[in-house]
């Protein structure tokens, strides 16, 4: 027994690395005795493509490179990386080639001993099985399982309902209704006609529609109530309610099940759930008296991210909430500017572009926007919109949204033009694409209306949607660009990518991560004429149109969620430390579990890039 203790160092090494960390203690105690130690000098071949591995290797020190059949680097692993496991489990030859990137010491377990161990411990087989679509999804679930309960984002509406609804018949008088409200100490009543929800009566209705309007309090409630109020089903998430309240600027939402009211949810109920609640931030922004106040409130975005990440909200939810705040800032700045400059001389629409247009905003995102003017606009109106654009851009900058270095902003005269000019611009991108133009133009295909004349935006979007789906050459260029940059698979276990500058030894999780999924989703969406801008929705539309397999679509959505969450959590950490948020993640911020899933997310992206190339043949592109 004393002998096993001698190999304790090797045992503890194995105990610290998956999948061996899953083995029972006594099995780990005995394992070192089955091993050999080998050494590979940097640059030497460890496992050739097409070779049947004779043993499982575990990197003890140094690093190995894995190249796939196309000669592409798909993995670079340091201590703990296993070589040959997948081929041994599949009973196949190795599809990859593994070589020593650094001088590398490995532990080796003979194939026969590995088989015996695997038969007794299926966890090993699972670990080395090829990745399946479940894995990333499971990662998201595991991540969430450790989170605190009770956050606004995961609470269901039914859990917020505190009492059965206080109702009144539509035939009752306003006076009777007011008496019920006073008795029951509520600020609103649900009005029933034949047992079904017909309307809602609130404190505000009594003030504005009865008292201020000088109406007789003896009239039936049905005459002053708000008819057919918006309701929510009991299984909706509190997040949905929150968004509903914010976007409609209302405070009460009836909970309705099969047409019958079962309760009421109010903004106050949500307040009890949440302290750093974005609802209140958005509300405050909407009421901000001036640009300074907007800037101050916008500066609290970091806290919002920190608190949402703490509650383990999904990246999708966080992106939507940050978008909501960003939209509120932009709208308020436009209202303030209009108030100062006077009524717009011709109708216009303010367009959001890029990540906020996709409802995927993170921290430290550039401001990307454009102005779409009515075709009636002339040279005499130029000054008004130039000032409007400059004021809003300056306001956004003060609120923490840096200017776009690529001039994708309404301050750029080329991005402040009438509808016909925008149509012409899109047509020229679509009909005469060049690689540079496609790269530059892609951000304009993520476009969403924020403020002003929505009709103008709809006209432009219809035009873009109709012409993009048949623009074969443009789509092929866009697909080529989307597949041009493989995910940075070299980023693993302390090994690095960014080799120079302030961000060396880190991974650009935006450009090399979720950004790659965004590009893939964009090509698919444009090709199938999807009006969506959100990447997850776009992927769903692509699956629906049959251009993307259901499995790959689900994998890509999981990959986007995982990569985006890693990014947001990184930014939340920076907020906590009081440093400016960026997209550069260092390897030691990730657990080995997360590194594994990062690796799988990257593999999914690579597969999707490959499939994209086949669907939009690159040979069509000169």
């Amino acid at each position: 027994m004393a002998l096993d203790v001698e190999l304790a160092e090797i045992r503890s090494f194995l105990a610290g690395h998956p999948p061996f960390d899953q083995l029972p203690g006594p099995v780990l105690d005995a394992l070192p005795r089955s091993l050999a130690i080998e050494y590979f000098r940097r640059g030497t071949l460890i496992l050739a493509r097409g070779e049947q591995p004779t043993r499982l290797l575990v990197v003890r020190s140094g690093a190995v490179d894995v190249h796939d059949r196309d000669g592409l680097l798909v993995d670079r692993g340091g201590a703990g990386t296993c070589v040959g496991g997948r081929a041994l489990v599949a009973g196949e030859v190795s599809h990859d080639q593994v070589s020593a990137f650094e001088d590398t010491l490995v532990l080796s377990l003979p194939a026969a001993a590995f088989e015996t161990l695997r038969a007794a411990h299926p966890v090993l087989t699972r670990f080395f099985a090829p990745p399946d679509e479940e894995r990333l999804g499971r990662a998201a679930v595991v991540r969430r399982a450790g989170a605190r309960d009770g956050s606004v984002l995961r609470t269901h509406v039914r859990d917020l309902v505190r009492r059965s609804p206080v109702t009144v018949s539509g035939a009752a008088s306003v006076t009777e209704a007011a008496r019920v409200m006073a008795q029951e100490r509520v600020s609103s009543l649900l009005v029933l006609v034949d047992g079904r929800l017909a309307g809602i009566l609130t404190d505000r209705d009594l003030r504005t529609r009865v008292l201020a309007a000088g109406r007789d309090p003896g009239v039936p409630v049905a005459e002053v109530m708000t008819r057919d109020p918006v309701g929510t089903p009991p299984d909706a998430l509190a997040l949905d309610v929150l968004l509903e309240l914010v976007t409609r600027n209302i405070h009460h939402l009836p909970v309705v099940s099969e047409g019958r009211p079962i309760g009421m949810v109010t903004a106050t109920d949500l307040l009890h759930l949440e302290q750093a609640n974005p609802v209140y931030l958005v509300g405050d922004i909407q009421r901000a008296p001036d640009e300074q106040a907007v800037a101050r409130l916008g500066g609290r975005l970091g806290e919002v991210v920190e608190s949402l990440v703490d509650q383990d909200a999904s990246a999708d939810d966080i992106g939507r909430i940050l978008t909501l705040v960003g939209d509120a800032v932009e709208r308020r700045l436009l209202e303030l500017a209009e108030g100062r400059l006077g009524t717009p001389p011709v109708p216009y629409a303010w367009l959001s572009l890029g990540s906020r247009a996709r409802r995927e905003q993170a921290l430290h995102a550039d401001q990307d926007h454009a102005l779409l003017l009515d075709d009636a606009a002339g040279a005499e109106h130029a000054a008004y919109f130039a000032t409007l654009a400059e004021d809003v851009t300056r306001g956004l900058e003060a609120a923490g949204y840096p200017r776009c270095p690529g001039e994708v902003m309404a301050t750029n005269p080329a991005r402040r033009v009438p509808l016909r000019a925008w149509r012409h611009q899109f047509t020229s991108w679509l009909d005469r694409p060049s690689p540079e133009a496609v790269l530059q133009a892609s951000i304009y295909f993520d476009l969403r209306h924020v403020h002003g004349e929505e009709r103008l935006t709809s006209l432009l979007l219809d035009h873009v949607r109709d012409s993009a789906r048949s623009a074969t050459l443009f789509l092929a260029h866009l697909a080529k660009e989307a597949a041009a940059h493989p995910p940075p698979l070299g980023f693993f276990r302390g090994l690095v990518l960014e080799k120079a500058g302030a961000h060396r030894d880190t991974l650009d999780i935006k450009r090399g991560g979720a950004g790659l999924v965004v590009k893939v989703a964009r090509v698919h969406a444009l090709a199938v004429g999807s009006p969506a801008t959100n990447s997850r929705t776009r992927l769903g539309d692509a699956v629906g149109a049959g251009v993307l397999s259901e499995a790959l679509g689900a994998d890509l959505r999981d990959a986007w969620e995982f990569l985006s969450f890693v990014r947001l959590r990184h930014q939340a950490g920076q907020v906590r430390e009081g440093v400016e948020a960026d997209n550069f993640v260092a390897p030691d911020e990730l657990s080995s579990f997360e590194k594994r899933h990062l690796r799988e997310a990257f593999a999914v992206v690579r597969t999707a890039q490959g499939a994209l190339g086949q669907r939009h043949p690159l040979h069509a592109v000169p």
């Binding site: 004393a2 002998l3 001698e6 190999l7 304790a8 160092e9 090797i10 070192p32 005795r33 089955s34 091993l35 050999a36 130690i37 080998e38 050494y39 590979f40 000098r41 030497t44 003890r60 020190s61 140094g62 201590a79 650094e102 001088d103 010491l105 080796s108």
Partner: protein, 216 residues
């Protein structure tokens, strides 16, 4: 008993036994052997199945360095008689080359034990990783190794081999064996892919003795 490997055996086919001893001091005539650790090396593979650490039985007080090795009197009185330790070691060494880091210490103690218990000296070819390291770190321009650079842990660091906190006969024997793998890999690369032979590995001197051989 298997015959000793021939001088022209290439490293890839060479069988060795990495050995390390724990003693109460450096003088085989006065100091006691406390434990022996060894692990076989087959070509370029360290075989942990054959890894052993054997504690020598001592009933009396073997001296103050006991504390250094963490070998308590209880452990030592639980040990194996020296005859048996030697028999186990010699069985494992049969047909193999003795590999050690600073081999004179291991040879000194094992040879003294052999002479005392069997009446004959220890006969084995020897490869010393200190000598190999000296050859790798010195050149015509750097005739002397940097102070301390030949010590086991410094030598390992040069090859990026991991630091191991433990310090007993077996972990040091394994550490020596790993160092040997790295040294052979470097010598093979330096020789244009040609593996060094046993004779080449046993040549003790650095560049000076190589020069001397050439001019002799």
């Amino acid at each position: 008993m298997r015959s000793a490997p021939e001088g022209r055996t290439p490293a890839g086919r060479l069988r060795l036994l990495a050995v390390d001893v724990e003693t109460t001091g450096l003088d085989p005539a006065r100091d006691a052997l406390l434990a022996v650790g060894f692990v076989p090396v087959d070509g370029t593979r360290v075989d942990l199945r054959g890894a052993r650490r054997v504690v020598v039985r001592h009933d009396g007080d073997p001296g103050p360095s006991v504390a250094l090795h963490g070998l308590t009197h209880d452990v030592l009185s639980d040990g194996v008689p020296l005859e048996q330790v030697l028999a186990e070691l010699l069985a494992a060494l049969a047909g193999r080359v003795l590999l050690a880091h600073h081999a004179p210490l291991e040879i000194g103690f094992l040879d003294a034990a052999c002479r005392r218990l069997t009446g004959s000296p220890l006969r084995t070819p020897v490869v010393d990783t200190v000598a190999l390291q000296r050859r790798l770190v010195t050149s015509a321009w750097e005739p002397e190794p940097a102070p301390g650079s030949l010590r086991l842990w410094a030598a390992r660091r040069r090859f990026g081999l991991p630091d191991v906190p433990a310090h007993d006969a077996l972990s040091d024997a394994i550490a020596c064996a790993e160092l040997y793998l790295a040294q052979v890999a470097e010598l093979t690369a330096a020789g244009g892919g040609q593996e060094p032979t046993l004779s080449r590995l046993r040549a003790t001197g650095g560049w000076r003795s190589a020069l001397r051989r050439r001019w002799r």
